[in-house]
C-alpha cells in the first residue's frame, strides 16, 4: 500500500509483510530514507531485497504494511534491463517518456541522453549496445519522470569495473541533486563505498539499519575488511 505524506522525507516504509505460500519473504521491514540519501540494501540470497524493492515500486502487493512517499514519484530500475532490444535508444526513451506522461518528451529524451552520455548511440538499437550501456538506458528510463526516489535493483550486476565506476558516478550525481536512491547489491564493498546507510536483510528480517562504519565497528577490531565484518555479523545472528 502506497500513500503520500508531504511532511516526511524521501520515503517511509512501515512494517512490510510478504509471504509466498509458507515462505515469509518480508517480516515487518521498515525504514526511512531522506532526500539525497543513498541507502544500500544488502543481505544473502533470498533475504527479501528484490521483494522489498518490488513492493516499494508498486509492482508487488504487500500482505501488510505501508509505503509513504514524500513529494514526487518512485522510479524503478529492475535488475535485468527492461528495454525493447529492437528499438533504438531514443525510441525506448521516447516511448517510456510518453507512457510516463512527460510534458516535453523531446527535451526529456535529450536530457537523459546527455546524462547517460549516450547521445552518439541514440539511433542504435538497444540490442547492439554493451551490457553497461544497456544498463544506463535502463536507468535513464527510470529517471524520465524525475522521481524523488529511485530504486535500483542490483544495478552493477554484469558490468565491468570501468562501467561500474561510470554508473556510480552517475548515481552519485543524482543523489547530489536530491534524489533518494535505494539500491540492492551483492557487492559488499560497493555498498560500503557508495551507501550513506545500510539496511541488512536476512530471511526477510531487517537486522541492521545504520552507517557502514557502525556495522564495521559493531563487529569489533578483529575484522580487517568490511566484507569479513558483514559475514561475521550475519553468522553471529544465525545466518
Amino acid at each position: 500500500m502506497q500513500s503520500r505524506d508531504t511532511t516526511a522525507a524521501g520515503i517511509d516504509v512501515l512494517g512490510l509483510e510478504k509471504s509466498y505460500g509458507e515462505q515469509r519473504a518480508l517480516r515487518g521491514v521498515g525504514f526511512s530514507a531522506a532526500s539525497g540519501e543513498l541507502l544500500a540494501v544488502i543481505g544473502p540470497n533470498g533475504a527479501g531485497k528484490t521483494t522489498l524493492l518490488s513492493i516499494i515500486a508498486g509492482t508487488l502487493e504487500a500482505d501488510s504494511g505501508e509505503v509513504r512517499l514524500g513529494v514526487g514519484r518512485v522510479g524503478f530500475v529492475p535488475q535485468q534491463p527492461a528495454l525493447y532490444r529492437k528499438l533504438t535508444v531514443a525510441e525506448n526513451l521516447r516511448l517510456f517518456a510518453r507512457l510516463e506522461g512527460v510534458a516535453d518528451v523531446s527535451a526529456a529524451v535529450d536530457e537523459m541522453l546527455a546524462q547517460t552520455v549516450l547521445g552518439e548511440r541514440r539511433d542504435d538499437q538497444v540490442g547492439t549496445l554493451s551490457g553497461g550501456n544497456q544498463q544506463r538506458v535502463n536507468i535513464a528510463i527510470g529517471l524520465l519522470s524525475k522521481p524523488a526516489v529511485l530504486l535500483l535493483d542490483e544495478p552493477s550486476t554484469g558490468l565491468d569495473p570501468r562501467q561500474r565506476a561510470r554508473l556510480w558516478e552517475f548515481v552519485l550525481e543524482l543523489a547530489g541533486g536530491g534524489t533518494t536512491v535505494i539500491f540492492t547489491t551483492h557487492n559488499i564493498a560497493e555498498a560500503e563505498r557508495y551507501g550513506n546507510r545500510l539496511l541488512v536483510l536476512a530471511d526477510g528480517e531487517a537486522l541492521y539499519d545504520g552507517s557502514p562504519e557502525g556495522l564495521h565497528a559493531a563487529e569489533g577490531a578483529g575484522q580487517t575488511d568490511f566484507e569479513a565484518a558483514f559475514v561475521s555479523f550475519l553468522r553471529e545472528r544465525g545466518h
Partner: protein, 449 residues
C-alpha cells in the same frame, strides 16, 4: 552429449506446459485419428430408398438386367442406410447423419425399358443432399456421379445397340415392329438402287430426271452419314438423369469457400502468432513489470495487443483478398460486409493469441503452442458431416465451437458470398469467444511477471 541430453530433459521436466503438450498432443491426435479410422464409416453413408416394386424385371435390348445385383453392387461401394420413406431419407440428410439420399422412383424401370422403344422417356433418379458446406456438396456430387456412371454405361450400351439395329433397318431395310404390328422397311440403300433404275428408264431430257437426281443424292448422303451414327450413339452416356434436391444448407461456390478458407488460415496464423509473440515478448524483454507499474494496466496492455492483432489481420486479409482478385473474381460490392467479418475474426484470434502468449510466457513457446493448437483445430473445422460417425462429428463440433477458426470461416464465407452462412451469428459467436479468451488472457497475466 549425454550430459547435454540430460540437461535438456531436465529443462523439459521444468517446463510443465511444453512437456504436457508434447505428451498430450500426440495422444490427442492419435485418439482423433483412431476414432476416425475405427469409429467412422469407411464408406460414405447414403440413405437408400428403392420404390421399385420387388421382382420387377428389366429387359433392355435383349439383355436382362440384374436389379438385385446392381443394388448390391451399389451398396458395396457406399454404406447404404436403408430407409422406408422419403420423409425418413430427408430427415437423415437434414440432420447430417448421411451425406445424401438416393431415391429410386417406382417408374424408373418402365422409363428405362422405354429407352429401347420408339417412345423413350428419360429415367430420373432423385438425390437429396445437405449442402451445408461446399466441400460436402462437391463430395456428394462426386459420389453420385461415380455411382451412376456404371449404371449409365451399361444402359447406354444397350440403348446404342438397339439404336444401331434401328439404323441398320433404316439403312439396309428390314422388318420393324410397332404397336404389335410388323412393318417392312425398304431402307435407304434399296431406295437409292430402285430410284437409280427408274432414272435409267427416263428420257435424257426428261424434267423428272433432275428431280429424281435430287432424291437419289439425298438417299446416298443419308446412307453415308447414317453409317457413322452408330459411333455417335456409342457416346451416349447419360441416359439416367439425376434430379438433385438440396434439402438443407445453401453454400457458396467451391471457389469462394476455398478463398474463405485461405483467408481464415492466413488471418489465424498472422493474428495468433503476432499477438501471442508480442505479449510474450513484453515478459522476455522484462518490460512487463515496468509497464504495469502505473504506466499501463494489464487489461490495457491486453487491449492494446488485441487491437494490434485486429489491425494486422485487417490489413493482411484485405491485401490477400485483393491479391486473389488476380485469379478469381470477388464480389467487391460486399466489401462493407468483409470488414466486420475480418474485424470479428481478427478479434477472436487476437484474444486467443493473447491467452496463448499469457500462458506460454515465452515467444518461442507461444509460437509452438499456437501452431500445435491452431492447425488441428483448423483441420477439424473443415470435416463435413456424414464423413465421420455422428458421435465423432458431434465431438468435433464441440471442439471447433470453442476455437475461433470455425466461426471466423463462417463469417468470411457469409461476407464473401450471399449464399454463405449467416454472418451475424458467426460474429456473435466470435464476440463471445473474444470475451472468453480475453478473460483467460487476463487471468494468465496474474502470473506473468
Amino acid at each position: 552429449m549425454r550430459w547435454l541430453l540430460l540437461k535438456d530433459l531436465r529443462l523439459l521436466r521444468r517446463s510443465p506446459l511444453i512437456t504436457a503438450l508434447l505428451v498430450i498432443y500426440p495422444i490427442a491426435i492419435a485418439i482423433l485419428i483412431g476414432f476416425a479410422l475405427s469409429g467412422g464409416p469407411d464408406k460414405p453413408r447414403v440413405a437408400f430408398l428403392n420404390e421399385v416394386p420387388q421382382g420387377t424385371p428389366l429387359d433392355l435390348g435383349g439383355e436382362e438386367f440384374d436389379i438385385v445385383g446392381a443394388r448390391d453392387e451399389l451398396c458395396g461401394r457406399i454404406e447404404c442406410v436403408r430407409v422406408q420413406s422419403r420423409e425418413e431419407a430427408r430427415s437423415l440428410v437434414e440432420s447430417g447423419e448421411v451425406l445424401g439420399a438416393l431415391i429410386i422412383p417406382a417408374d424408373l424401370i418402365s422409363k428405362l425399358r422405354s429407352l429401347g422403344g420408339l417412345t423413350p422417356e428419360q429415367p430420373v433418379v432423385e438425390v437429396l443432399v445437405n449442402e451445408e458446406d461446399p466441400v460436402k456438396g462437391q463430395l456428394v456430387d462426386d459420389r453420385i456421379d461415380s455411382l451412376l456412371s456404371d449404371a449409365n454405361l451399361r444402359v447406354s450400351q444397350a440403348i446404342s445397340e438397339i439404336s444401331v439395329t434401328y439404323l441398320g433397318i433404316l439403312l439396309d431395310g428390314g422388318s420393324l415392329g410397332f404397336l404389335g404390328e410388323s412393318f417392312e422397311v425398304l431402307g435407304l440403300i434399296g431406295a437409292e438402287e430402285i430410284l437409280t433404275e427408274i432414272r435409267g428408264t427416263l428420257p435424257e431430257n426428261s424434267p423428272d430426271r433432275e428431280e429424281l437426281d435430287r432424291v437419289i443424292r439425298f438417299a446416298r448422303t443419308a446412307a453415308e452419314n447414317l453409317d457413322v451414327a452408330d459411333e455417335l450413339l456409342g457416346s451416349l452416356s447419360q441416359p439416367i438423369q439425376v434430379d438433385k434436391d438440396v434439402v438443407a444448407g445453401d453454400s457458396p461456390s467451391l471457389d469462394v469457400f476455398a478463398i474463405a478458407v485461405a483467408a481464415t488460415v492466413t488471418l489465424m496464423f498472422v493474428t495468433v502468432l503476432l499477438v501471442a509473440g508480442s505479449l510474450a515478448l513484453e515478459r522476455e524483454e522484462n518490460a512487463f513489470r515496468r509497464l504495469v507499474r502505473g504506466l499501463v494496466s494489464p487489461t490495457g496492455l491486453l487491449a492494446e495487443k488485441i487491437a494490434l492483432g485486429i489491425v494486422a489481420s485487417l490489413v493482411v486479409t484485405v491485401l490477400m483478398l485483393a491479391g486473389l482478385e488476380a485469379f478469381v473474381s470477388l464480389e467487391w460490392s460486399r466489401f462493407a460486409l468483409w470488414i466486420p467479418a475480418i474485424l470479428a475474426g481478427g478479434a477472436g484470434f487476437a484474444a486467443f493469441g493473447a491467452a496463448i502468449g499469457g500462458a506460454a510466457r515465452e515467444v518461442r513457446a507461444s509460437s509452438l503452442l499456437a501452431f500445435m493448437i491452431s492447425l488441428p483445430v483448423a483441420f477439424l473445422s473443415l470435416v463435413p458431416s456424414g464423413t465421420v460417425s455422428p458421435a465423432l462429428f458431434d465431438a468435433i463440433g464441440v471442439v471447433t465451437a470453442v476455437f475461433p477458426f470455425d466461426p471466423a470461416l463462417r463469417a468470411l464465407e457469409g461476407a464473401l458470398d450471399e449464399a454463405g452462412p449467416s454472418i451475424g451469428v458467426a460474429i456473435a459467436h466470435l464476440a463471445a469467444l473474444t470475451i472468453a479468451y480475453g478473460v483467460l488472457a487476463r487471468l494468465a497475466l496474474r502470473r506473468f511477471a
